[in-house]
Symmetry: D2
Subunit: 211 residues, 4 copies
Amino acid sequence: MLRRQWLGRDWVQVFRESYAAISRFIMNALDRISDNEIKQLVDTLVNAYNDGKKVLVIGAGRSGLVGRAFAMRLMHLGFNVYVLGETIVPALHPGDVVIAISGSGRTKLVVTAAEVAKSVGATVVSLTTFPESPLGKLSDLIVQIPGRTKVSSEDDYNVRQLIGIYEPLAPLGTLFEITTMVILDSVVSELMMRLGKTEEDLKKRHANIEI
Amino acid sequence: MLRRQWLGRDWVQVFRESYAAISRFIMNALDRISDNEIKQLVDTLVNAYNDGKKVLVIGAGRSGLVGRAFAMRLMHLGFNVYVLGETIVPALHPGDVVIAISGSGRTKLVVTAAEVAKSVGATVVSLTTFPESPLGKLSDLIVQIPGRTKVSSEDDYNVRQLIGIYEPLAPLGTLFEITTMVILDSVVSELMMRLGKTEEDLKKRHANIEI
Amino acid sequence: MLRRQWLGRDWVQVFRESYAAISRFIMNALDRISDNEIKQLVDTLVNAYNDGKKVLVIGAGRSGLVGRAFAMRLMHLGFNVYVLGETIVPALHPGDVVIAISGSGRTKLVVTAAEVAKSVGATVVSLTTFPESPLGKLSDLIVQIPGRTKVSSEDDYNVRQLIGIYEPLAPLGTLFEITTMVILDSVVSELMMRLGKTEEDLKKRHANIEI
Amino acid sequence: MLRRQWLGRDWVQVFRESYAAISRFIMNALDRISDNEIKQLVDTLVNAYNDGKKVLVIGAGRSGLVGRAFAMRLMHLGFNVYVLGETIVPALHPGDVVIAISGSGRTKLVVTAAEVAKSVGATVVSLTTFPESPLGKLSDLIVQIPGRTKVSSEDDYNVRQLIGIYEPLAPLGTLFEITTMVILDSVVSELMMRLGKTEEDLKKRHANIEI
């Protein structure tokens, strides 16, 4: 059942190669992230916080899960934040912020939701690998994420060059999703600084019914 | 509103420091992960796959989201996999596998659910930083995850030594959650090899109604 | 703060009027449900069960929750059933069945998802008040549900005639949602009979980790 | 494959019998609901609204879905409302209100969560068929719901007497769940009156990104 490429490898060796490849990709990706785009994302969020605007996070599949992890931290920071698809999703108004996450920028439900958000006057910020995608084109702000996404192929060459990774070590959108998670968790630190929040402040807002 | 520690830093500099600290932590964590524990986790999952047993993923908060991201990949690999708290959760039977994720190992709902799982004869595999925690103690198998978790303090010293990170650069369970995600995505690669699956196989099982 | 219409009512009296109006609506709705449409819905589900096809339930908001309640029972009956928006959603193939629930038949995300489902060859069954809606038009089978839906107005007249209900006693899609829940739970009984299942069979598949 | 009890019935006849039995049960249940308990539930919610307190809805399985449907309406009414198990769940403080739904009053995760809620000073309101259950005993307020629940047996006799229903026409917790939904939707009408809200007010807060 083994494919040729795995022959001769010990068990767990693939685990280690994959782990090393993913973490190298994450580390190298930092140089490919635009300071300016991050600054604009942070500014947009800080303004929403100060103006009492809502933030709605949109994403499908694993990108949606990464978005939820970010939404939780925004709640810990004191934001009025919501996740599309959950029970509690309020009406959006002009000035509210939508964070849309899609590696390909073509996920239908995400594009549809972002279009509706635009039509009610919300600001759409996209995290995507493809600024020229349907999602990218309708966005007010794009944070371009390095990643080998589900549908990319031209991007594959760069990924391989960069880290020598090949597909089974990080299938489908894995690199996009993990890199986005690290980026958004680093945005949380930037927001803590900008909003003057300590870890203790976050802990106070952390759900105490889970612990 | 700025705290002393942030003085003199440019905007986005904190983002970059946080990103660098997190990715360094991920990279260094590999040496602190037990080959043997990973091998046992993979063996347990491969056996469940071959025997047609169910896998149920349990976790609260961001750990639960990381668990869901893993569950999605297990589905792409062809597992009968479920997530506690979602609509479709079947009855567990002896031989079914529960993957429980909790940095502290003390999250009440996770411990309660793991106890019930044990009582119906399921095998409980825990990913936690604290093997001596209530969750750890009731588990059949523990994969110890390096991490500075929500409730740790004795662990903090080691974390600082290791990477010079301090709390606002990765608040609460951030390091545990991201490291667990990288570990589980690397387990996916190992499983692809063990089960003879290609990325194309995964793509075929990926929800086509999202794209 | 009280509106004129409430003047002179005791506390809890509105509760009782609402309860009576809703339950009367439910009871009267039975005469407006098509035997033939129910029979076709049941046949479609029985065929999916016998052929090992997947069933995917789609709905937004409270309609989506009613859909999930039905999906749970389908799982208890032994169906391969999934809910759009949850973690575990597999690829759909020709012959798989989509159950789409939308009172107005115009909920964007539901229509988009149903379109995609059609494009991959799935059979789309809609529960809606408006057969001429975008959702209705693309469906292979429609079960028309009596209801005063979010966007209806011409329908209001009939509703008032039928039961003398007025809006605050069942705001927005309330009547649609509850009636749909009763219909689908009655479909469950029909399915139990058709598939030869007892309550004991359902109990065996009920999540034992919740109890 | 047909059981004796179904012999001689036409297709769809069971659907109709089940629908009639369920709707009769709902209608008759009104006389078994305590005005005083409803009044206290409404008062508790109105006070939470006026004092800016949070409301957290807790439930497992289909009871949890009914709870979510209620939570959505509370959001439409302007409450700060959350659902346990979703991404956005804040810390609870004294004076916050927990609505716990469990027919049997013994669902482990619900009882555990309610215990934690009590320990942080929240007010626990339970909707259950069994006031003497573990959930009932720890609650500050109980709304007793007529219902034949998953684990009941002594209750069965009353149910049969009342409406002549027998199990396959409403298996497991069906009657509890639907009756609870009708009760909570009627509470919504009472709250509209008490808080001076119109359907138009609700519509304004309804998620516009779904439509």
